[in-house]
């Protein structure tokens, strides 16, 4: 799942997937709230998990996203 999430982040922000790790923060990638919204939608579409606005605010790193998706997937 980490690889899939990294691929989505890489495509959404136009950055090299090879530079991304679980500890990477979205802030360090220069992602603003709209980039995050767009990425969240891709996560939702890919994994079938809905991520509301409040939860979105707590996801600071790529690892946070993986943990959230794992916890909320059926």
């Amino acid at each position: 799942m980490l690889e899939k999430v990294i691929a989505i982040v890489a495509e959404g922000l136009g950055v090299e997937a090879g530079n991304l790790k679980a500890e990477t923060t979205f802030e360090s990638l220069g992602a603003d709230s709209l980039d995050l919204m767009d990425m969240v939608m891709n996560f939702e579409d890919e994994f079938g998990v809905e991520i509301d606005a409040d939860s979105m605010g707590t996801l600071k790193t790529i690892g946070d996203v993986v943990d959230y998706l794992t916890a909320h997937q059926n």
Binding site: D32, L34, M37, D38, M41, A53
Partner: protein, 326 residues
């Protein structure tokens, strides 16, 4: 029978606010607005300028561009959410100003999808043989319903009008689609002053635009590609075949996200949002007029025109650009 656009026109007020002007009203900055929205300027009606006056001018220019005389117009359809009079409707006042004595007139309220809904309506009337020469106008004075205390929304909206003349021609209808979801209406709302006690403080705030930006962003970014794919499937073509995606100018970041989802080059998505901001139902016809007059629209080009917004509402049409043959 189907309707063909034979002329376009538009009008933007001369006065504008740039981002630094907005930064004097609410806490924001030019850099932030440009990055988040792509907007640099938005035009603001002033003095005698109203939704009606702008509609009249855009309509006049469209008729001239299409070589159509006012007396030959049999319908005027104005899409607006900011009519400056409840009665008579904007379309009636446009009729009086232009001298289109034969026209049947009415206004249509479908927010940012309004021009596309009006266009689909015109197609239906023409296909049914009821009317032949229809003047479509999208005109808005959003500055009057802007909530200048809300920095997340007041940066977005501007004033202006766009118009197109649609004339009947032989041929099958091109595909179009539209949809609505009133259960999500609350995410982009503005109460009218036509209700008891609107002057009371708590009601008064709601008579300005109130938007859930996250919900609207997600809706627009998902819905528009869905519509485009449905139309391309009906035409049995792919994104590669489409020359232009002319979309409602809500936010540059929304349009970019839409282009990514369609795996399409951003150059196929013309934009004038930097100059105009979001002018609701005026945005598509203003953009269409700019593209027409600058010669960017060539015969044979395949276009998908799409609107989406409050209601929630959404609509898209496929068309092939062609000079009208008399």
């Amino acid at each position: 029978m189907r309707g063909r656009i034979c002329g376009t026109g538009s009008y933007l007020p001369e006065k504008y606010y740039d981002n630094n002007d907005i930064a004097k009203i609410v806490e924001t900055s030019d850099a932030w607005i440009r990055e988040r929205t792509g907007i640099v300027r938005r035009h603001i009606a002033s003095g005698d300028e109203t939704t009606v006056s702008m509609a009249v001018e855009a309509g006049r220019r469209a008729l001239e561009n299409g070589h159509v005389l006012p007396k030959d117009v049999d319908m005027i359809l104005v899409s607006t959410i900011t009519p400056n009079a409840v009665i008579p409707g904007v379309a009636f006042q446009v009729q009086a100003a232009l001298g289109a004595a034969q026209a049947v007139c009415f206004d249509l309220s479908a927010a940012c999808s309004g021009f596309v809904f009006a266009y689909q309506t015109a197609q239906a009337y023409i296909a049914a043989g009821l009317y032949q020469t229809i003047l479509l106008i999208g005109s808005e004075t959003l500055s009057v319903i802007n909530n200048w205390e809300d920095r997340s929304s007041c940066i977005l909206f501007g004033d202006g009008a766009g118009a197109a003349v649609v004339r009947a021609e032989e041929g099958a209808l091109y595909p179009s689609l539209a949809g609505s979801d009133g259960t999500m209406g609350h995410v982009l709302a503005c109460e009218s002053r036509v209700q008891n006690g609107w002057q009371k403080k708590e009601t008064e705030r709601k008579t300005y635009i109130d938007m859930d930006g996250t919900a609207v962003f997600k809706f627009a970014v998902r819905k528009m590609p869905e519509m485009a794919k449905a139309l391309m499937a009906q035409m049995q073509c792919t994104e590669a075949d489409i020359d232009w995606f002319i979309t409602h100018q809500a936010n540059e970041r929304i349009i970019e996200a839409i282009a990514r989802r369609l795996k399409s080059d951003i150059t196929k998505f013309p934009m004038n949002i930097a100059e105009c901001g979001n002018t609701s139902s005026a945005s598509i016809p203003i953009l269409l007029d700019e593209m027409n007059r600058s010669g960017r629209l060539k015969d044979g080009q395949k276009i998908i025109m799409a609107g989406f917004g409050a209601g929630l509402s959404w609509g898209a049409v496929y068309m092939e650009w062609q000079a009208y043959k008399n």
